[in-house]
Symmetry: C2
Subunit: 345 residues, 2 copies
């Protein structure tokens, strides 16, 4: 049953470290009414991504920070329940920056707007936020375009049991590479090697993880798909081969502001080894999303890519869910279910 | 008149900071005799390049360090005076790692061997070590291949009055870019803007150089042709635009070992701005040298590229000449003349 009011999480102050409930104001307001050319969307699933933690700092980024008093920004999927917009008929599922709230209006003030999902989804809607969404597309372009893998090369993936890392590693396997993952528990490592086909996975909480990493990469590292930064990045960088590529996708150990050296590197070895480091954000490939989704869909259908979602239930848990991106308590894509997914047509 | 013995500088110990004469042993030995298939070369010009300072550290590099007791390694040009090698007839000029000495034998133990220069040189032989040698080729591939300039973009060149920087800046002008140089004296800056056509040049010893740099780059920086590292690199990095490219050609402020943070950078902004940083060494383009030399030769003939050489005379001055790469006391390419260039055919 749909709530009669709109619960919203507004940013109250800029957090330090992991977020707390006190960093947000949770309020209930009237369900908004769509104006001319607009639609009212019932939010179903929220995506949790490390970039959200950056959006609530005052760091300059690829989008302006979430303002104090603004609804917390997040990607997600919802369903149109009232519509004055012929592009978004009632019943259709849409993707966009729905925010931490029960309802959103598809007004022109929402950056990037809302994109209708195909009518007959090949997968449950939440997968449109993971393998077939920004997550999978990030892995696809990051690994293939920036990483430029060649068969037989060694690819190391940090946060390998995470949403992007787990897909990137499987694409690297499809490309014929040796794939080594770093993750934060033995269970995650087992999932990577047993289920996803990684050649090796190393629990970076093990005392001898650096030694294990060296042993897992006897020919050095040709591609670092970098999601975390800090000590893990330093260890991988020390093993980079001549002409290695660093897909700089994330530096999450620094996102909570408590590790100011997380993103520092020494360019000396980068010069000598002629390494290419390239910052990467999936938005740069917006014109080619269809290519990625088509290929990812084929791999998914063929069983070449497996995926897992960790799904939290209840909008009220949004703040603590964000922290699970950083404390490691999740597997694959982290989602929050606000409301039951609609009946498929 | 040719000396009757071979003066050689051998590396005696690994220097700390700028080199001193005591870091080398200067000895006189008999002029070597070429064996079967070898040639004896009278050395004429030594090239001085920042990489030589790295070769005498024990840092891993793209070549093994110069061993203690080994002749100091350096590129240069010589003339064949005795030959048992039909590829290197007497009288021909050759380029290669001739070292800090009066004579060298073209034995197979010399890395990369010796390359004969064309019989009819279009320029004085020393220019074959500057614009038409490794220096010019480095500028050509670094700027064009790694920098990938587009007309109207802003290019910043550090050590812009140096051998590589002065050529790279002129190529960037040919490519239609706005070119801003950083150099260490007002005279150098005047040379860059008045003679070489740079749009702006900033003396980094001026108190307000950072402010001047910002003013000279009103649209930010699209390409950083990085030769120096340290504070200059940090200032340029703070102005990088979305999708900027960093041609990582040198980090000379760190080469004497007295500036351990010279090459540290924060990858956070690199990620957010999707910058590409790529280490670069001209050897990677060995198969395409002819392309570069041909194009550089055309530009030179057309007056589109100007050049200067700072020429020190006398092999005995080799150690202190090396330091002039780092204390700024030179303009353009730094060379040492060991013996009078031969009469042109």
């Amino acid at each position: 049953m749909a709530p009669a009011s709109n619960r919203q999480f507004l940013l109250k102050r800029r957090p330090t470290g992991l977020v707390t409930r006190d960093d947000f104001e949770c309020r209930e307001t009237a369900i908004p009414s769509p104006g001319s050319g607009e639609a009212l969307v019932r939010n179903l699933f929220l995506s949790f991504d490390p970039s959200q933690r950056i959006w609530i700092t005052d760091m300059p980024g690829y989008m302006p920070p979430v303002a104090i008093g603004e609804v917390m920004r997040a990607h997600g999927i919802g369903q149109v329940i009232l519509s004055n917009d012929p592009q978004l008929p009632v019943g259709s599922l849409v993707h966009g920056l729905i925010g931490w709230q029960d309802y959103v209006v598809s007004s022109k003030s929402v950056p990037f707007g809302f994109t209708p999902l195909p009518l007959r989804l090949p997968v449950p809607p939440e997968v449109m936020l993971s393998v077939l969404g920004m997550t999978g597309i990030t892995a696809y372009f990051g690994l293939r375009e920036i990483g430029a893998p060649k068969p037989g090369e060694t690819v190391v993936i940090s946060a390998a049991a995470g949403a992007v890392g787990s897909i990137a590693g499987q694409i690297a396997k499809i490309e014929g590479c040796r794939v080594v993952g770093l993750a934060g528990s033995d269970d995650k490592c087992t999932w990577l090697t047993q289920d996803l086909g990684f050649d090796a996975a190393i629990n970076y909480k093990a005392a001898d993880w650096k030694k294990q990493l060296r042993a897992a990469c006897p020919k050095g590292v040709d591609i670092d798909f970098e999601n975390v930064g800090g000590e893990i990045m330093q260890a991988v960088f020390s093993m980079l081969n001549l002409h290695a590529r660093v897909v700089l996708c994330g530096l999450i150990t620094g996102y909570n502001g408590d590790n100011p050296t997380a993103s520092l590197v020494d360019l000396g070895p980068i010069l000598v080894k002629r390494v290419r480091i390239e910052g990467f954000i999936v938005l740069d490939y917006a014109k080619r999303y269809l290519e990625a989704v088509t290929q990812l869909g084929q791999w998914l259908a063929a069983g070449k890519i497996k995926h897992r979602e960790t799904i939290v239930e209840g909008l009220e848990h949004a703040p603590e869910t964000l922290n699970r991106l950083f404390d490691g308590d999740k597997l694959g894509k982290l989602l929050l279910k606000i409301a039951e997914a609609p009946i498929k047509p």
